[in-house]
Amino acid sequence: MTHTKIASPKQDILYMAILSAVVLTMPIWLQPFGAAYPDLMQKFMIFGIFAIGYNILFGLTGYLSFGHAAFLGVGSYTAVWSFKLLSMNVIPALIFGTVLSGLFALAIGFVSLRRSGIYFSILTLAFAQMSYNLAYSVLTPITNGETGLQLTQGDARVLDRMAGIQADASLPTPNLFGIEGIGYSGFYICAALMLISFFIYLRIFRSPFGLKLRAIKSNQNRMGYTGYNTRPYLMTAFVISGMYAGLAGSLLAVTDPLAGAERMQWTASGEVVLITILGGVGTLIGPLLGAGIIKYFENILSAFNDSVLQNAFSFLPDWLAHGLASVLGLFVGDGWHLTLGLVFMLIVIFLPGGIMEGISRLWRLVSSSASSTDDKEKEQPSTKEA
């Protein structure tokens, strides 16, 4: 991205204010889209956090990691363990989840960042697959294998017991000092965390540190020649993005206290890459948009099935409705991944900058055509005079 305008702090505050307003009013303006229910909005927020964290690494430094799902998984497992052992309060869960994935990222980054390019991608992929395989096999005492780690009645919950909170007959739910982690209150917890993360991310983008990360992307050798050791910068970026992924993972556990190893599979890592690319790599708001769009359409399209399609086309002649429904049926419901793959390919081929590039192209088109009509209007009187 060459067009990096350095925004003034005031503009950033305005930016944050607008974003907060948009996010916090989501339950209202998403109503007409049929997406205003807390579960889905929480997903928007969580995958938003995951994607902006990923963007710090991939968008700024250009290092394509294919193993970020491992950090998401570590965050989830840690959060559930914190619920089991310490307290149902979300604060320790989030802190432990984030910190532990940060440490995990430190270890993986230490090895992976010795190499760059495709080797880096494959090293991260190898580590993620290793964690996934281990979570299914040897680490079963920690991860509970295929069943997934879940809460039980008999969990210790030391802090809760000390505070005198007794578990009643039903399973306790994660909460923030009594505010429940599910439903609308849960959405606002996620939204608040997303906004905080976004603010930090914004500051990183604007900081000299962020500029150095961009310098690494545009030419790492030259960066070295100017006397910078790039490794610590890369390492910091990697750990920060790992912590974002951990935060997202522990939030997933807050909304649904069940952690499974499939969260660490490499297709899950692929998903965050997809989200980031779709929105726009290296752009500020792009990853958030990508997360929203992908999760929205995942939700809408995978709910479609053949009978819904048949009804939709019922005004057509029978044979045509049948044909259309069976063709479109490939792309919705279970086949929603096919749509995703196709859209993703189209984006990479025609619009490598993602939706943000599309928007800016459209904007230029509109503004240039607007200015050209201005010119014509200016010219017209002069031609009349002539």
Binding site: W266, L338, L340
Partner: protein, 338 residues
């Protein structure tokens, strides 16, 4: 001793599949400079060629069951058996080897179409873009297969003649108890022959010589007036055929399902990296090596000492190799170093 011998065989067998896929990946990378994440999907499509052939051969008709005499019973009988009797049954029995005949042109076509319609626009794009677009393609291909064949694995049988086990121990003087499935031996032989064919094609034919020259210095070959791009397209098709055949032959070992490709792709990439990007002998060597290491690490004796080692050994080896020998076992200087 017996156990070790069997594990080596096991490893060679698995390694054969890795080596074949990695060979194709390396060929494509060495010629076109493209990192192809859809190569696993090609392997999977090869496997589904076998499934398709079997489905076609066993298209059935309801006929009266003559063995039941006291009421009218019907059974599904394949047309082939109705028309040709025992010959038809034998053809169905041999469906997997027969699929090879179909798979070669089909995979060649798929490879060439893929290269001409998509990959060629990505020669000059960054590797990250190539990875991403082929990753998208892999998702599309596997979802299409899932839509047509369903999500469950579809078992394929080897011909009856080779369905049992070979008393291989006697041959090597190890005792009668040492047996090994025939089909896996065939697979090993098949992979060795295929690898040999690819290498002799590259080394003993003029066409292959030009391809190798193009790999070493593309510009000079073009300056000599050779249309190297077309040859590279053919090479891409060839890589697809190799992966496809590896898939066809693997079906009796492992029932194919739609994400077979993804499972193998990750491993094959690790194999390529361990062998050294762009090195064909490296890919083959690393394939067999990692296959053997994997099968040894799944022995209970080893697992008792290092629990879980069988799950991670390949990745662990990859990490160690990349850190100590950054170019892989046989990687050349200047390949993928920027």
């Amino acid at each position: 001793m017996d156990a070790i011998f069997l594990q080596i065989l096991n490893g060679l067998d698995k390694g054969g599949a890795y080596a074949l896929i990695a060979l194709g990946l390396t060929l494509v990378f060495g010629t076109l400079g493209v990192v192809n994440f859809a190569h696993g999907a090609i392997f999977m499509m090869g496997a589904f060629c076998a499934v398709t052939v079997e489905k076609i051969l066993t298209l059935s008709v309801r006929v009266k069951d003559e063995s039941v005499t006291f009421f009218d019973a019907y059974k599904e009988t394949p047309y082939l058996e109705v028309w040709f009797g025992d010959t038809g049954a034998a053809i169905i029995d041999w469906s997997v080897p027969l699929s090879i005949i179909l798979a070669i042109p089909v995979m060649l076509l798929i490879g060439i179409v893929m290269e001409r319609s998509l990959i060629r626009y990505f020669y000059k794009r960054p590797h990250a873009d190539q990875i991403l677009v082929t990753f998208g393609l892999a998702i599309v291909l596997q979802e299409l297969v899932k839509a047509f064949f369903g999500a469950n694995p579809i078992p394929q049988g080897a011909p009856d003649v080779v369905a049992g086990s070979a008393a291989i121990g006697a041959v090597f003087g190890l005792g009668e108890a040492v047996v090994y499935p025939w089909w896996r031996l065939i697979y090993l032989a098949f992979s060795l022959v295929t690898i040999g064919l690819v290498f002799s094609f590259l080394h003993f034919t003029t066409y292959g010589m030009v391809v190798r020259a193009g790999m070493a210095d593309r510009e000079t070959v073009e300056l000599l007036g050779i249309n190297i791009e077309r040859r590279f397209t053919i090479v891409f098709g060839m890589a697809a055929v190799v992966a496809g055949l590896a898939g066809v032959m693997y079906t009796p070992v492992l029932p194919p399902d739609y994400h077979l490709g993804m499972d193998f792709l990750v491993l094959s990439f690790v194999v390529v990296v361990v062998g050294g990007m762009g090195s064909l002998p490296g890919a083959v060597l690393a394939g067999f090596l990692l296959g053997i290491l994997q099968s040894f690490s799944s022995m209970t004796e080893v697992k008792d000492i290092f629990p879980g080692i069988d799950q991670v050994i390949i990745y662990l080896v990859a990490v160690v190799i990349l850190l100590t020998r950054p170019r892989g076992l046989m990687g050349r200087r200047g390949v993928m170093e920027s």
